[in-house]
Symmetry: C2
Subunit: 184 residues, 2 copies
């Protein structure tokens, strides 16, 4: 399967960015190619198009499945597995966020919770525990917020994002209306 220069450069870019996005080059390239392809692709298609060994493709697909980013498709009368992106761009981005939050924040939250509970052994540790509590609270606020945002419908979320910092105005407006409403 031959790629046009534009598609190829996108796919290679995904490979280069792979490690920054939390996976590796192979995984990045494969995801990039699946996104660009209207038809689902087999492991052999991926292996040949990207010049990647069959075994590496298999491991990469497994990893992409653990991120819930690709799904398997079967064609009638063909026993090969074909792969395609598991949902639209929006869903995929959501899954990446969620998975990275799990990997990048959850372990730290656990450690901090455990470290904060018991009494400080000395003044130095008391300071450290205060800082840990600060970090914990920030991470927790972000985690809770992120999961609430993810539970919103894409439409609501888009409205909110398009509103941007204008949301402040709306919050002030609400306060004003409520205050003028109750004559206390």
């Amino acid at each position: 399967m031959l790629l046009t220069p534009k598609i190829e450069s996108f796919v290679m870019h995904c490979g280069e960015m792979g490690s920054r996005w939390g996976f590796n080059r192979t995984i990045g390239q494969i995801m990039g190619l699946l996104l660009m392809s209207e038809q689902p692709l087999s492991a052999v298609d991926l292996s040949e198009t990207l010049n990647i060994s069959r075994g590496n493709v298999s491991m990469a697909i497994k990893e992409l499945q653990s991120w819930r980013l690709v799904s398997v498709i079967h064609k009638p009368g063909d026993r090969k597995d074909y792969y395609a992106p598991a949902g639209d761009i929006w869903e995929l981005a959501n899954r990446v966020f969620e998975e990275r939050r799990k990997r990048e924040m959850d372990p730290t939250l656990s450690l901090l919770r455990a470290s904060i509970i018991d009494e400080p052994a000395n003044a130095e540790e008391a300071y450290a525990q205060d800082k840990m509590a600060e970090i914990h609270d920030l991470l927790e606020t972000i985690t809770v917020w992120a999961s609430e945002l993810q539970s919103m419908s894409p439409e609501k979320l888009t409205t909110l994002m398009k509103l941007g910092s204008g949301v402040v105005k709306v919050l002030e407006f609400k306060d004003k209306v409520l205050k003028s409403g109750n004559g206390k």
Copy 2:
């Protein structure tokens, strides 16, 4: 400088998480230790406490400065450089977000913009360009939103985050009040 077990385990955790957070083990440990320390620490303090070579500390500090996460402090009558976190936890988290956004999204946005402008060479490329446009729009919306959030004061932002998905209610409330207000 000897660390209590709790502080040590936090610092080592930061080292292990380092690469997931966008830097490496040494950088993670150093940032962790600086966060836990009430006093600024010198390069030698860091090197000895963490058993890291002097050269490695120097490179790590340079990297942390490029992320704007540590600042240099000079004590009167002492020509050593001392290092401390550059701001409170909130500011630090902001800088990490911003820096990562730059590294993880901006290059892709540039590539996508460039790929989308010219005419598709064939049907296959037309499909790919549509997808690229979708990805571009999503990344751009997120980028713009993130930078607007970062421009908000920490208090407003905390209010907004604490409100969580309840923000939807406020948006609906606004629409209702405005609608009932103008009798069109």
